[in-house]
């Protein structure tokens, strides 16, 4: 599918179908729009390359999911109808913030393996003492930048090691974010599609997110009012599937999207 530029070249997206888009898709960290090729084929949709990934240029500053959602909102404003928004992993964080902050732009939400909240016991750990010492040493000039970088690489995740510059700072920012408050404000139907074997974002995250949504007093009424008969929240578990549901079971994500169109 051909690529199209949006926002004067600040964002690129791949168009599916020939009609007006009704689905907007956001990929995960370190991935790009191509992850959605098995999901969106035959639909009227746009899969975006998020800023700093694929064809889209780097963001000009360190932004979190809210900054990404702002950029997404600018594009969705240009589309005529509210979109079913699909987000995988990091893209799910953006989709949830977008739907909470700009409900008029989002007709429905499909969240796939999205790290929306932190599970108990998975709090952000304080960095080890040696690393903190190296960081302090670098600040006072006793530890070289190269040495500190080696320490960072030794201790960072695969995503952290692969990222550089502004993207590394963005990664640090977003992994420390959670979105319970956004979930509590959603007013559109939500489908969560999760691999039973997702080790990066365990299925428990989906269940706990669904619990928060169930306590959201407006959600049921809003969905009932807008699209009677449609469940407000559904969790779809894909047995035997890992974190990359878009690649391993694209049909299941597609069914969830179609159910909201």
């Amino acid at each position: 599918m051909p690529l199209k530029s949006f926002l004067d070249g600040r964002l690129f997206g791949e168009r599916y179908g020939s009609g007006k888009p009704r689905v907007a898709a956001f990929h995960g960290w370190g991935r790009d729009r191509r992850d959605f090729s098995g999901v969106l084929e035959g639909l009227d949709a746009v899969a975006f390359d998020l800023p700093g990934f694929g064809a889209s240029p780097l963001p000009g500053e360190v932004i979190g999911a809210a900054g990404y959602a702002d950029a997404a909102a600018l594009v969705l404003e240009e589309m005529e109808a509210p979109q079913v928004v699909v987000g995988h992993s990091f893209g799910g964080r953006i989709a949830a913030v977008l739907a909470a902050e700009r409900p008029e732009l989002v007709a429905g939400l499909v969240l796939v393996g999205a790290p929306l909240l932190r599970l108990p016991g998975h709090s952000v750990r304080k960095p080890p003492l040696l690393y903190r010492l190296a960081k302090w040493g670098n600040k006072i000039g006793a530890v070289s930048g190269g040495r500190l970088e080696r320490e960072k690489r030794r201790r960072g995740s695969a995503d952290y090691r692969a990222a550089s510059g502004v993207m590394r700072d963005i990664l640090v920012k977003v992994v420390n974010e959670t979105y319970e408050d956004h979930l509590a404000r959603l007013v559109c139907p939500v489908r969560m599609v999760w691999g039973s074997g997702d080790r990066e974002v365990p299925l428990e995250v989906a269940w706990r997110s669904a619990d928060i949504l169930a306590k959201n007093p407006n959600l049921e009424a809003e969905v009932e009012g807008k699209a009677g008969g449609r469940a407000a929240v559904e969790v779809e578990v894909v047995e035997g599937c890992g974190h990359h549901v878009l690649l391993e079971a694209p049909d299941r994500v597609r069914l969830a999207v179609e159910g909201l169109l």
């Binding site: 599918m1 051909p2 690529l3 199209k4 070249g9 600040r10 690129f12 064809a55 889209s56 240029p57």
Partner: protein, 358 residues
Amino acid sequence: MTPPAVVFGGPSPEHDISVLTGLQAARLLSEAGRNPTVIYWSKVGRWHQVDPACEAADFAAGPPRKSRELRLVAEPQAGWTARRRSLGVETALLCCHGGPGEDGTLQATLDIAGIRYSGPNAASSALAMDKLAFGALILASGLPGLPRHDVEAGAPPEFPPPYIVKPRFGGSSIGIEVVEDYATAVALAGSSPHMDRGALIEPYLAGGRDLNVAIRTYPRLQLSAIEAPVSDRFYSYREKYLSGGGIEGSERRLPANIPEELEHRIRDMASQVARLAGIRSMARLDFLESEGELWVNEINTIPGSMSLYLWVDPPVSRRQLVLDMVAELEESKARVFSTAGADGAALQSAASIAAKLG
């Protein structure tokens, strides 16, 4: 004779693939008893002598442990040196993909150092890496090529969208995109880090396919079997290299099941291009085919895995292919710079510089 050097890596997006190509060549030469000097060019541009028995993973985080730091001195009788002493490298099998290792930069440096190298000379290397110039050469020679339009021309091309946008310089499919319109092409060329030195637009041929053939020039000009990669029309870097086992692990039909007449045309054109583009050692020539129509697309002067896997018909062993490349290299002559006519007479009779400026 001094053992050949095998050189790989370099500050290029294709650095990692080059490490694989270089280690394969080094291993094949070691097994043949040629005891190569193995030289690694790091991503930050530094030189290291490494053990031929190194594995690819040893390079994942930079130069392997126990590697010896080298310098490349572009002066006669110098070349690669360790602690200011020349290693005495006379011949270099270049396994660098993309960037300065393939675009003529390293080749020109080795010319100055008096070191003979595999692959085309500096000028032909630069020509092959410049898709706009290479495409123009093909068309000017009467061979079939797709029209190529400079993105910075300021107006859309005459052919209709969708377009393929490619970095003007670069050896792999990195950075190539199909775009919906000219505005997207311009925006992409303005923001893609792969297109900071220019970009070009080609028509997108839906339903077209790639057909590739390797060319070697020693002991005589010879063509490999023709391959048809099984995937997208222009298969992405990810598909080509990361989908399992490097470029050799990519899905392909080899030999491609194509009509005899088409094969003849490919072979005829490939031989012409080899001469036109100054091909030496081993190259891979990529064609596009759609409904029987054929276009010369790109030439890769230091192809992934040296295209050793393409030699199934006629069957030539990988070891033999590499040994032949080294034999050709050893028979070649270093570039000699001529100073004929610069005998000082013009200097002696010249007036002062100040008088010339006056």
